[in-house]
Symmetry: C2
Subunit: 138 residues, 2 copies
């Protein structure tokens, strides 16, 4: 886990990690949220809706924004204030995503940073793009 303080962070800093979406993550996310929508749980329904297989929960992908902030940038001293995200392409179980956060702004008055977030699959298709405003507690 990184421990960057506010003063150690500069606009342009980038952190990234990769994660492979598993069936266990899908069932775990469904169990926590109670979202049993068939697009995420039923191959036949997803296929009839025009997708090659079950679609990964958008909010499961968005949950890795928690990881980039809490573990990488800034890491330990992170407190998320606000997020925005959209899902330009569907993501499927088995996809390996590269999650990247880049510092695009700093606010010295409030000690907050703004990150631009992208998640890309192996084919370099963007499955998530977003922004976060994060307080840096030290």
């Amino acid at each position: 886990m990184n421990c960057y303080t506010y003063n150690e962070i500069s606009v342009g800093d980038i952190e990234a990690f990769t994660v492979t979406i598993t069936d266990e993550m899908m069932s775990g996310f469904g169990a926590i949220t109670g979202d049993m929508n068939p697009l995420h749980t039923d191959e036949l329904f997803a296929s009839a809706a025009g997708f090659k297989s079950k679609v990964v929960y958008g909010m499961l992908m968005a949950s890795f924004m928690s990881t980039i902030a809490g573990m990488y940038l800034p890491g330990k001293h992170s407190l998320i204030h606000k997020i925005e995200t959209e899902f330009p392409q569907p993501c499927f179980v088995g996809d390996t995503l590269s999650i990247t956060g880049e510092v695009v702004n700093k606010n010295d008055t409030f000690k907050t940073i703004e990150l631009k977030i992208t998640a890309r699959n192996e084919a370099e298709k963007k499955v998530l793009r977003g922004k976060m405003r994060i307080g840096v507690l030290q």
Copy 2:
């Protein structure tokens, strides 16, 4: 699970549910995302940072936006395009949240709806406010 079609949904429609945040949800969310930030896992760290106990992951709360869309409004025919959310107050394990979604806009061209989302704790404090744009597949 509700199965509202696009034509059955009107601006002003509201759906809501309640959920109590448990330690199992917290550890499950940490296991899925790999976010082991001590603000969410270490009582002493959270206390030293000025909170009464471990702070619930913001993105765990935001994950219930998946539930309101996928199970309630519109339910079965949901496909989330975009979300925005912020966390005006901290949430703690044991809090029971009322999650509410209200239709504030419809786009007949794209068959999308816009929901305003709030999550309030038992003391009626707003711990999440957000917006979602959701495609309605039928």
